[in-house]
Symmetry: C2
Subunit: 721 residues, 2 copies
């Protein structure tokens, strides 16, 4: 179970408010009012050296004068006073402190010094600190609102952690209006001591928390974050919103992969790997929170829609297709039940249009028929208020149908005053309601995706090291030699050697200086072959007509050598021509496999369509290593190349096994070679027999001497003593 | 100006309610209550054969007994009684009728007969009918609420036309709560008589309407719709929401274009061409309505964001990038003004983070500096309610900054109770407010895109026929010959001939039956050449190793002939091999140009990346013919191929002029050849000198003998007497 000091911080039994006040507008006044209004049952002591009493309650001059055991001190005094107060708290045996005051590292060198001094005092006695510069903590079951937020949280079973204090009030405001409650609300502040990982561990172990919402602006220590996130997501839904999807910019791109895979895609891969669910915008964050608050779960994607108007049903269906959901194909017996219960003009399919004059009885019949159908994984009920619509009666019918249901049931009552009483009913019944069909579909997609992520996470144990034998020492020697020469981009020969050390198949390029040598090399490679100009001065060979493909026999090779070298010499008279290279013709499906290293999360493995258009196409799915077969299959399935690998316009299907094997070997490279900054294998040609890289580009960087293999995901530490 | 009978329908001076009632729950009771509450100033007569008086007001037994002039009859009686009532109304000189009753064509054959009878009576006397099966009409300036909606519209300057009665109440509910008002609300019902085009013409000419919202479920007559839509959009913003983006399904795809271009993409192209703005979901429909209601306009895309919290600013920036907007680069003097007014820690860039403790003065300085910057086209102000935030004072400052501004100013005050009074201020000042940064950005994107569409539409006159000389008769003869043989797919030779009739350059395929003939054809074509197997039994030539590329001289052609035919014979012993075809090697940028015909809107021209992956890539922009250079450029710019046509990885840029010329010729084909069902030119190779089709596939269909050239967009009829 969690550290007792962390428990003292997030679920305290006794409190001291240092800087308590009754001066209007003062932080100490707002926090005191919040603490009192929320009805905390344990002792609450006030500390203010300038006052004997505040609002009729005794105030102590310093924490040292307060009697009895104190779990948590809330500190709202100016930054300069905080180190001394922390020292006194620690000396006094206070277990934890929330420091709301600003003016630490964000205020420059002087603030940074204050922060260090504060931390030194705290660590000397094991006192734990939340903040500084945070909004505080709410723990609803014990009536604890240790924040300066204008809204308290309704009691509930969601744990919220926010890196932005500014958004806390907006989120709490919204949640209150929409009936969404929280078990805990934690504002991290700048995270000088207690970090995201410890907060996640607390909420993961907390029996009052069913699901976790995280608002993240940046992660600095990937490994403890990932460990805690995976641990939490094993047991509970974790929904993450992170700002900064397009803030990639600064990376210099030596490769397609570098240009495609910004740090945000790697962050995305990390969340997916941890079994968490990322939402893209605020509206969805709130919508998903409401849904999760209701405790609904499914791993299915087959949706039934019941509506009293065609248009909103079609909009829901449109949006379901956008989100990768499917409309459930209703079983014959379901259709028969609906035929019996609905007027002849009903839509006779899904969406189930119960028509504009539908009453509660007609809706009830449709709800029952759909929810009983084993082909249906969840239901969205849509109501538009028409002339004779009994909105509230239908709402009651939906609540009744949802009661005791395993399948998610979501409501979309459109309008405002006409459906206000229905919305109140849904809130009371904890049935999630949405204003638009699209929002309801987004919520169902979120529960379904989350269910699948958890299933994936829970059902397998990730290998701690990929099972690939490799000559790591050989690869390292090659890379370090290049770095010693001041080069970060490996030559093709070096790249091939590094790939060879991991048993990754690369098409051989056999150099030939004469026509006779070219024929000999072609015979070694096996016909048909490709012939390409070999010149240190030419990088884009096709531009100078420097490539011949499909050469089928010795005669064609012989003839092509003279033609090719002469032709290039005409077009580029200044280029040094060293001869040609001969490569066997590779035919099959062209894909791209790459590695790009993120500063925080380490290497990400990318996969997508291959060829020179990859940057244009923006088709790169990303996963974190280590991969196993299951994760490799998932990575492939998230790229457009997945469709292309299947039998396509007559081409035979690609060997999935060979592609998986190649991805596992690339995963091993990513784990074992911390020097790899970027790698492009493009194209990789996959046919029915195997997968081979045609071209390779590797960019390396120096790393600290003690850098070991990448294993952020290898070990799941115990969540705490 | 508009037809006086249409004016009588949408802005009546005198009314009769036929079926007036005071029985609780009756439609006639609801409509009467709405009419009275809205305070219509003109005469309102009640008709009910069973009553002498209703609510103390005299009721007439029939319309014939009503004295005086009557503009509009509202009919709520059962369908079976409606034809007779319409006959009486028409005979009595009533100018127009709203038929709310259901039970016409949607109720089968009997209902269809009633509808015909009703229309016959109306047409005999020139009476115009809205509906049947509609919610009615609201005209707010004259206090006319002739609907059974639960909510009346607030007065305003938006005209709303909805094909779904079911959504009317939801939209009106929402608009009322959000302070959005309407000049007119029109529920079309099934549109038996007065159609969308006439409603648009009315709103276009209406001096009380500044902008138009359309909710569409389907269009049956494209030409009058398009004429009215273009006419309306010339003068006023038109925002369209249409359900059914994915409802494409049934078209059999003979070509890439056919598979890619569903009817929804053609509908999209039609709206764009008409200068209207389509929104994808309900949340945006409402958001854009609120924005348009404020009368803001811009054609720019450069956004300034002022915020008191970093995260929401970054979210707005993320979403702006998603929507193709740019963050304004603030001018040096703007930065200097901000430096002078803000604390040292401000973000020093856009988004302008005025920090968590910002007061109204600080916000005011930031608003002024941003709005004065000529690099800024619009402003989004974001506020999160923090400890000391004076939300309402900042809201007042924003309203003041927005007053008299030409640039759009949008508010995003996050939260609910904490910012409720600010929202009320914004509503009172008609300043559009949003709950999330993403919604505010969507709204700005909508005004900007709409501004651009209108600019495009207003600045040019579309050519009535494209200026391309073509042998239409020759093309027609070829197509009709194929159709006479029962074929719908043209042979390659026929396709090339049809393209030739429109002077579209196609790479020649020169057949050769022997090596000697092949050499002769290659010398005609010019080296290097491609050689491809010629066999009626082989369609995928690369699959049987049946293609040789880059053959540089006679020797290579000679050697390849024997090798190629032998190799194919080994792989496909049963295939009839007739020889080879020789084609000059085309090198350049590969794109795809196509035509797909929509049943309602006619031909759409598609453009995108070329090659065999096009279906996978789903990259097809669509435009309606006729194109001119401006529209061709716009079509190209909407495809990913646009980036690819620029200098890319060393390849020279493609000739835009040549590509435009080709698109204009394809546009001429689309207009002049009504037989064209689908056409693929894929790839079209564009280099610095020209654009040539490498392969062509044309699917034709029989059309009525009197089918003329396509000219839906050629003529803009006078909007009415």
């Amino acid at each position: 179970m969690a550290d007792s000091r962390i428990t003292a911080l997030f679920a305290p039994k006794s409190l001291a408010l240092i800087g308590a006040s009754d001066r209007p507008g003062a932080l100490g006044t707002v926090v005191l009012a919040n603490l009192r209004e929320a009805g905390f049952a344990g002792p609450l002591h006030l500390v203010n050296p300038g006052r004997d009493a505040i609002g009729g309650v005794r105030a102590f001059p310093a924490i040292g004068a307060v009697p009895g055991d104190i779990d948590l001190a809330i500190i709202v005094t100016p930054a300069a006073t905080v180190p001394g107060i922390i020292r006194d708290c620690a000396a006094r045996g206070v277990r934890a402190a929330i420091v709301m005051s600003a003016g630490f590292r964000e205020a420059g060198a002087a603030g940074r010094a204050l922060e260090q001094e504060m931390l030194a005092h705290a660590r000397a006695h094991g006192l734990r600190i939340l903040g500084p510069n945070c909004v505080g903590v709410i723990r609803s079951d014990i009536g604890f609102n240790g924040t300066f937020s204008a809204s308290n949280a309704l009691p509930g079973r969601i744990g919220l952690v926010s890196q932005s204090g500014a958004l806390c009030t907006a989120i709490l405001d919204w949640a209150r209006v929409n009936g969404v409650g929280f078990s805990s609300v934690i504002s991290t502040g700048i995270g000088a001591d207690v970090d995201f990982g410890e907060m996640l561990d607390f909420l993961a172990a907390d029996p009052l928390t069913d699901s976790i919402m995280l608002y993240i602006e940046g992660i600095h220590h990937a490994r403890p974050f990932m460990s805690a996130l995976r641990n939490a997501a094993r047991g509970k839904p974790v929904v993450v919103m992170k700002a900064g999807r397009h803030a990639e910019g600064s990376r210099a791109a030596f490769s397609h992969t570098g240009a495609l895979v910004g740090s945000d895609r790697v962050f995305d891969a990390a969340l997916r790997r941890a079994g968490a669910l990322r939402v893209a915008d605020f509206a969805n964050f709130f919508g998903v929170a409401a849904t999760l608050g209701s405790g609904m779960h499914t791993t299915g994607r087959r949706l039934a829609i019941v509506t009293n108007a065609g248009g909103p049903g079609v909009m829901a269906a449109d949006h379901a297709a956008d989100r990768g959901l499917r409309l459930a194909k209703l079983a014959p017996q379901t259709l028969a039940r609906l035929d019996a219960a609905l007027p002849a003009h009903w839509s006779h399919g899904n969406p189930v249009d119960v028509l504009g004059d539908a009453d509660a009885a007609r809706y009830t019949a449709a709800f029952g028929a759909c929810l009983d159908d084993p082909q249906v994984d969840g239901l969205i009920a849509i109501l538009t208020p028409q002339a004779l619509t009994a909105s509230e009666a239908v709402a009651r019918a939906l609540v009744k149908a949802a009661t005791g249901q395993d399948k998610p049931v979501l409501a979309c009552w459109m309008g405002e005053p006409s459906v206000a009483s229905s919305r109140a009913l849904f809130r009371a019944a904890r049935l999630p309601g949405y204003r638009t069909p699209e929002a309801a579909v987004d919520a169902f997609a979120a529960i379904s995706t989350h269910g699948r992520n958890r299933l994936q996470l829970g059902g397998r144990s990730t290998p701690s090291r990929p099972p690939v034998a490799a000559d790591v020492a050989g690869a390292r020697a090659l890379i370090e030699a290049a770095l010693a020469q001041g080069r970060s981009v490996l030559t093709l020969t070096e790249s091939k050697a590094v790939l060879g050390a991991f048993h990754i198949d690369v098409v051989p390029s056999l150099p030939a200086r004469s026509a006779a040598e070219a024929v000999a090399r072609a015979q070694e490679a096996g016909f048909p072959v490709a012939m390409k100009i070999l010149s240190p001065d030419i990088s884009h060979k096709t531009e100078v007509n420097g490539v011949r493909l499909h050469l089928a026999d010795a005669g064609q090779v012989q003839a092509s050598f003279a033609d090719l070298t002469a032709s290039v010499a005409r077009l580029r008279p200044a280029a040094r021509i060293e001869g040609v290279v001969i490569e066997p013709m590779a035919r099959g499906h062209e894909v791209m496999v790459g590695i790009a290293r993120d500063e925080v999360f380490g290497p990400g493995i990318s996969f997508g369509l291959g060829g020179t258009l990859v940057e244009l196409l923006q088709d790169a799915a990303v996963a974190l290593p280590p991969l196993d077969h299951h994760l490799a299959a998932d990575l492939i399935s998230r790229s457009r190349a997945a469709a292309y690998l299947r039998p396509f316009r007559g081409a035979p299907p690609a060997s999935e096994a060979a592609l998986h094997e190649l991805l596992l070997r690339v995963s091993a490279m990513a784990c074992e070679l911390p020097w790899l900054a970027e790698m492009d294998l493009n194209p990789v040609v996959v046919d029915a027999a195997g997968a081979r890289a045609i071209d390779a580009r590797i960019v390396v960087q120096a790393v600290p001497a003690d850098a070991g293999p990448y294993d952020h995901l290898a070990i799941d530490p115990d969540p705490g003593p």
